[in-house]
């Protein structure tokens, strides 16, 4: 199991050091600093073995988190734990930065003591942790409160405490998708997929039983023609769920039922590859004029209902390293050559569906005798659209709470779809 956990700043100074196992000595802290943080080369692996000690690390901005072990641990678990640790810290004190870590080091030690026992991860749900790790002490608790805490931390529904009350029962569902594309210069789709998340904010009283339904092809087909007629169903390649969802029920009936945590959490993640609506198409044209000049023309076409508006559009056209000057002309939005990023960045605030826009640029190059050809990185794009490119629709989210007297109709529900660009690249 995990033998120790260290947090370093970018210089390699130790901010937090917690050792769980006897086989990890103080020198392990230094070994990681010397061999990984101070190593001059690029990190070639997130797992490093130094003198029979294995180090797992993740980086958040310029903070290094490293877990250490001398055993054959479950590597996937260690990384999942490190991410979870980051989530917990963020939930407690915001951004993970040197300043915040130093300011909260006592809290971090307290958390590490609770969520990792002898290197075994324990309950790390923020909802549960916040009930008893507060930095205020737990003097005031009554006996009932204490036993409620412990039964929640260890219980079957470790993510929700009892006795939650809201005057207004309300829930928000966000379907957040990121659409990924790799297209050849000729406009052929090399790979495209959507990875989506359903994020829920629930403000519900008691212990509500929820049931979530979407236009999943398997479910619709099973229900036969009786189901929604105008609903297009979608094929979901794979999905994963928050631990509150009863997986065995999903496996047997494909129904998604759960008791939600309080507040914001990620209900599910999914991936689709079929019938994806690609919101934008990028048509590049790069021409080399002699050895010192490049002519670039890029057309973008929006491909969705004209009534909808895409936002925060950004096209990034890479330029060679030996670029000396760039002249840009664009019909819409603003374009700028950013020498430090080796790219022309073209920004458009809004764009309706079924439109097209164009940019052309002349790039002056310095003559070089570098034999190596310019690698021509792909043109990448960022945007945000108010629909789900996968075609996913929420059909229902039913709430049942048998003990309290509110019904499904009393709950105010909000659903929102946001499609964002993931890695959306066109080779040129």
């Amino acid at each position: 199991m995990i033998g120790g956990l260290f947090i370093y700043n970018h210089k390699g100074e130790v901010l937090i050091s917690r050792v769980y196992r006897d086989d990890i000595g103080r020198n392990a802290v230094d070994a990681f600093r010397v061999n990984v943080i101070h190593a001059r080369q690029q990190v070639r692996s997130p797992v490093t073995n130094i003198a029979r000690t294995s180090f797992f690390h993740v980086k958040r901005s310029n903070i290094w988190l490293a877990a250490v072990t001398k055993q054959n641990v479950n590597a996937a678990m260690v990384f999942e734990f490190l991410y979870k640790m980051c989530d917990v810290m963020t939930a407690y004190f915001g951004k993970i930065s040197e300043e915040n870590i130093k300011n909260n080091f006592v809290l971090i030690y307290e958390l590490l003591d609770e969520i990792l026992d002898f290197g075994y991860p324990q309950n790390s749900e923020t909802g549960a942790l916040k009930t008893f790790i507060t930095q205020q002490g737990i003097k005031g608790q009554t006996k009932e409160e204490q036993s409620q805490i412990t039964s929640q931390v260890t219980g079957q529904i470790g993510w929700r405490r009892e006795g939650i009350k809201y005057r207004r029962n309300e829930l928000f569902l966000d379907v957040l998708e990121s659409v990924n594309l790799l297209m050849s210069p000729q406009g052929q789709v090399l790979s495209a997929h959507v990875s989506g998340r359903v994020v829920m904010k629930s403000y519900l009283s008691g212990m509500p039983e929820c049931k979530f339904g979407m236009n999943d092809k398997i479910v619709i087909d099973k229900q036969g023609k009786g189901g929604g007629t105008d609903d297009q169903s979608i094929a979901i390649d794979d999905c994963t769920f928050h631990q509150c969802v009863r997986l065995s029920k999903f496996d047997s009936e494909r129904s998604i039922s759960f008791i939600p945590p309080d507040g914001e959490y990620e209900l599910m993640r999914y991936r689709t590859t079929k019938d994806i609506i690609l919101p934008f198409r990028v048509i590049p044209l790069v021409r080399e004029v002699g050895r010192t000049k490049l002519e670039v023309k890029v057309v973008i076409k929006s491909n969705f209902k004209p009534s909808l508006l895409a936002q925060k559009i950004e096209v990034r056209i890479p330029t060679p390293l030996n670029t000396s000057g760039v002249q840009v002309i664009c019909m819409k939005g603003k374009a700028k050559y950013k020498a430090s990023e080796n790219a022309i960045v073209w920004k458009i605030k809004r764009m309706a569906g079924m439109k097209e826009s164009q940019i052309s640029a002349e790039i002056e190059l310095l003559p070089t005798n570098d034999k190596k050809k310019w690698a021509r990185p792909p043109i990448s794009m960022n945007f945000e659209v108010p629909f789900a490119p996968s075609g996913l629709k929420v059909r229902y989210l039913k709430v049942f709470e048998s003990k309290l007297n509110y019904s499904d109709h009393d709950v105010i529900k909000w659903v929102r779809y946001i499609g964002r660009s993931g890695i959306y690249e066109t080779r040129c």
Binding site: N72, N74, K102, N123, T150, T154, G158
Partner: protein, 947 residues
């Protein structure tokens, strides 16, 4: 509230100030001070001096302060064990606190204080906490058992905590179950043979129930534990699989990977024609693909595992090629792994896409990645024949880029393509030759030379090209030199008329001017071949080459199976068995996949159903195996049979038969069965009527020994002193010496003689590592300075605890002796007889079994000439040096002595000594598991008997 200020105190006298603050009456001030202490501890300052002051703060009802003090205690208790006792009372009291959080905190912290004295006090509170009414306390106590076991395993067993822990598997609370499983799994790992985690269908059922209810981490513990179970039949296997598959939809990647591990393992037991088998295969692909949308570090872990899964079951992901396409922003470690998997999945169906991708990658920035991409193109060509032409043209395009490392890599892979498809793509040779000058890596140079040599008849200026390499022959690496030698010989065989001079030149370079034995040998072979029979040479050198394999870098099947059992763990990331990177006994058990119980054609490699059962070798003397292993591990060369192979004459066979029968009869196992053994049975070894009087012989030996000046009791053989370090080499110091063994103590006896003009002082001695770990047991005691022309006798006691390295010959010892003048090195050989230990007498029954157990190939036979002893005298002499006669038989005037001896490192040597009356030639057959030992032992035999 900003705590960062605690990190900034660096002034002197800080400890003193802190001490004052810790003892302050104000609670707030105290807490501040403890925080400062913890901050200093974090940055690595030693604040252990504050131990009593910090511990004094422990008695508090402020939980935050308490936790800080505990943190300090865990860090420093070990360095201040006596002070730590002060804390015990508070712990014991806290374990009774009405607040379950405080009870748990106390038991959790107490387990982390690794002080023996404290663990005694821990037992009672722990016992109570294991049965606490609150699940939070129980789950903490479960882990505490594992902690305690790590400190004092015996105590845990004696106190019966293991049974309590087992009971917790049936606990009503899922988290308690999960922690108990985790603790038991870890404890079981350090006791490989204990049946601690007694997995049976009932417990499995309990675990599967808890699996649905516990936290994500608990699910991982349970799944990892399940993976160690071997179902009884395919039915049970299927029902477990059915209950595990829902986990594949868990958001936590580690849960998914552990579930995949269980499924991959239990799938082995399902018959392939079962519908469910196909369903399961289909269910595995999507979650594996989903893992690739996780954070990069997890992607890396997933990819390393997918690499294994694809090798074991390629069908799972064969349609998922696209997801392994490299993204521009992937970290380099993800890119390299994806590339590996792409090559494994490449097939005729997807080759066009793959090639287009690989070509893109070959223009990227990272050198390693580009090289690997180029190499991958070559591998595609070899794997998918239809694509070979396209691959070659892609490679040619890449060569045109003139990027140095791309060109070199391309040439290396084109060589392989030529080998796979001979006489097909030779048209490209011209292009390759253009790049000859830019090649600076040995592998690429060697590949190019191979191509030129192989196709010498089609390249007009092949001789010039090869000659150009020859100029700097001695600066080339061996790889290139060897290739150049072969290449030129090929050229000569193809165009003998114009290249005679060239071949002469290379042969003389390789044989006369090189000190590399491989190169020299190859040179001589060619030379002789060419000078004796050029036709044969042609047949040999230009012979058809064996096909090269399609897949490369495949993991060896048994290792692959083991790694599949370790999916998700570090072993699967490193692609190494846990024993390769884990110290101690943990994780050293080799895991195996279970065999199929279903239809016959189902599994590629029929494995016995022996999951997690270490291969138990039926050895009579287990320690010997281990020690032998140690010896061999240090051996750089694979063990080869030394000495001449035993002649397979009728006599030899007869001797073997007699031996078997004779010993059987001694044991009384086969009475009256075989008439031939009659005499042996009639003559017990102790009463030999016509023997030379043994006591006299012993007395004589003793006399001789005494006259030798050194009293050796019990007639142990002691070779005469020989000069080890002549005065010429020792700057006037002469050392002569010998080795003795007296009542179990090995001594090195030396005579140091000063033949120089000045006084010698400050003697010291050191040994190099040697085969049996001989090392000085103490310093070299030369008490008085050694004046000129004086000599001194020194006896240095030795032990066999030193570092081990195999020497050639086995009994060689390299010694360094230092004095005030210089350090001198010499080597000497010790008689093996000093290593014969006193307990070398084997039970006759064991002897028989062992003799049969050692393969006949390990038997070595030697002859001792001119030895005028009878068998009893010989036996006595040998006994004096700890060679024990176990049995004796006489067959037709020939005495056979069966003897055993044991070396200090536990290696047994068994011997059969044949003595024929009136014949001065003895025959010794030695059997030993270590094949290099008999030769050296024989030398001792000869020396002892002839002395």
């Amino acid at each position: 509230m900003t705590d960062s200020k605690y990190f900034t105190t660096t002034k002197k006298g800080e400890i003193f100030e802190l001490k004052a603050e810790l003892n302050s009456d104000k609670k707030e001030k105290k807490k501040e001070a403890v925080k400062k202490v913890i901050a200093s501890m974090t940055v690595g300052k030693d604040v252990s001096a504050l131990f009593p002051d910090v511990v004094n703060c422990m008695q508090t009802d402020n939980l935050e302060l308490k936790k800080l003090v505990y943190l300090y205690l865990m860090n420093y208790a070990k360095s201040q064990p006596d002070m730590a006792i002060m804390a015990v009372n508070t712990f014991v009291k806290d374990c009774e606190d009405p607040n379950p959080l405080i009870r748990a905190l106390a038991v959790r912290t107490m387990g982390c204080i690794r002080v023996d004295k404290i663990t005694e006090y821990l037992c009672e509170p722990l016992r109570k906490c294991l049965k606490d009414e609150d699940p939070y306390v129980r789950k903490t106590a479960a882990v505490c058992v594992a902690k305690l076991h790590d400190i004092n395993a015996q105590l845990v067993e004696d106190q019966g905590f293991l049974d309590t822990l087992k009971d917790l598997i049936s606990d009503s609370n899922p988290m308690v179950v999960a922690n108990a499983v985790a603790a038991l799994s870890e404890i079981a790992e350090s006791h490989p043979n204990s049946n601690l985690l007694d997995l049976n269908p009932q417990t499995i059922n309990k675990l599967l129930t808890a699996l649905n209810e516990c936290t994500e981490w608990g699910q991982i513990f349970i799944l990892d534990c399940l993976a160690n179970y071997t179902p009884r039949d395919d039915r049970e296997s299927q029902s477990i699989c059915e209950r595990v598959t829902p986990r594949l939809s868990h958001a936590n990647s580690a849960v998914v990977l552990s579930a995949v591990k269980v499924l991959m393992k239990f799938m082995e037991m399902l018959p392939k024609d079962l519908d469910y088998y196909g369903t399961l295969l289909k269910k595995l692909a999507p979650p594996l693909v989903t893992l690739l949308s996780a954070e990069p570090e997890l992607q890396y872990v997933a990819l390393r595992n997918i690499n294994l899964i694809v090798q074991r079951r390629p069908e799972i992901l064969k349609h998922e090629m696209k997801v392994f396409f490299v993204k521009y922003n992937d970290p380099i470690y993800v890119k390299l792994e994806k590339l590996d998997i792409m090559i494994r999945l490449a097939s005729q169906a997807n080759i066009a896409q793959v090639l287009a991708e690989l070509k893109e990658y070959a223009t990227e920035v990272d050198v390693d990645f580009v090289r690997k991409a180029v190499r991958a193109i070559g591998r595609c060509a070899i794997k998918v024949e239809q694509s070979a032409e396209r691959c070659v043209s892609t490679l040619l395009d890449l060569i045109q880029t003139k990027v140095n490392y791309v060109v070199q890599e391309a040439i290396v892979v084109i060589k392989d393509i030529f080998r796979k498809y001979p006489n097909k793509y030779e048209s490209v040779i011209a292009t390759l030759c253009e790049n000859l000058d830019s090649l600076d890596e040995p592998e690429a140079r060697a590949a190019m030379i191979w191509i030129v040599g192989e196709y010498a008849e089609r390249i007009d200026n092949a001789d010039e090209l090869l000659e150009s390499f020859l100029e700097g022959f001695h600066d080339e690496s061996t790889q290139v030199q060897l290739q150049l030698l072969t290449g030129i010989v090929k050229l000569f065989l193809k165009k003998p008329t114009e290249t005679q001079e060239l071949v002469q030149q290379v042969l003389s370079l390789a044989t006369q001017d090189s000190d590399n034995p491989d190169l020299r040998d190859r040179g001589y072979i060619y030379w002789r071949l060419l000078s004796t029979d050029p036709v044969a040479a042609k047949e040999v050198v230009l012979a058809e080459k064996p096909l090269i394999s399609e897949e490369t870098d495949l993991i060896e099947p048994t290792l692959l199976e083991e790694l599949i059992c370790h999916i998700g763990t570090l072993a699967s990331v490193y692609h190494k068995p846990p024993s390769a990177f884990v110290e101690g006994s943990r994780g050293v058990q080799h895991k195996r996949l279970p065999g199929s119980a279903g239809s016959g054609e189902s599994v590629e490699s029929p494995e016995p159903v022996s999951a997690a059962v270490p291969e138990a070798t039926p050895s009579v003397i287990p320690s010997q195996e281990d020690l032998l292993g140690d010896l061999l591990n240090l051996d750089l060369t694979p063990p080869t049979t030394t000495g001449p192979p035993p002649p397979s004459s009728g006599l030899q066979m007869g001797a073997m038969d007699l031996l078997g029968g004779g010993l059987d009869s001694l044991l009384g196992g086969d009475l009256g069965g075989n008439p031939a053994m009659g005499p042996g049975f009639a003559a017990p070894p102790s009463s030999m009527p016509q023997s030379f009087p043994a006591p006299a012989s012993r007395g004589l030996d003793d006399l001789f020994d005494l006259s030798g000046g050194v009293g050796i009791p019990a007639g142990a053989y002691c070779p005469p002193k020989t000069v080890w370090l002549p005065a010429v080499k020792g700057k006037g110091l002469e050392i002569s010496g010998t080795f003795t063994r007296r009542s179990g103590v090995i001594q090195m006896e030396m005579t140091l003689t000063n033949k120089a003009m000045s006084v010698m002082t400050d003697f010291a001695i050191q040994f190099n590592r040697n085969s049996f770990g001989l090392a000085p047991a103490g310093p070299l005691q030369v008490l008085t300075p050694l004046s000129p022309n004086q000599n001194i006798e020194v006896a240095l006691p030795l032990n066999t605890l030193g570092p081990i390295m195999k020497m050639e010959p086995l009994n060689n010892l390299q010694v360094a002796v230092k004095n005030n003048i210089d350090v001198f090195y010499f080597s000497c050989q010790y008689p093996m007889s000093v290593l014969f230990s006193e307990d070398g007498k084997m039970e006759s029954k064991v002897f028989l079994v062992t003799w049969k157990d050692i393969p006949n190939d390990n038997e070595a036979q030697f002859q001792i000439k001119d030895c005028h002893l009878n068998s009893d005298a010989a036996s006595n002499k040998l006994q004096g040096s700890n060679v024990f006669t176990i049995a004796k038989r006489t067959v037709e005037g020939q005495d056979m002595l069966y003897q055993s001896l044991k070396l200090t490192n536990g290696i047994w040597v068994l011997a059969e000594l044949k003595v024929q009356t009136g014949n001065p030639t003895f025959t010794v057959s030695l059997k030993c598991r270590a094949t290099e030992v008999p030769q050296a032992v024989f030398q001792s035999y000869e020396a002892i008997l002839k002395n």
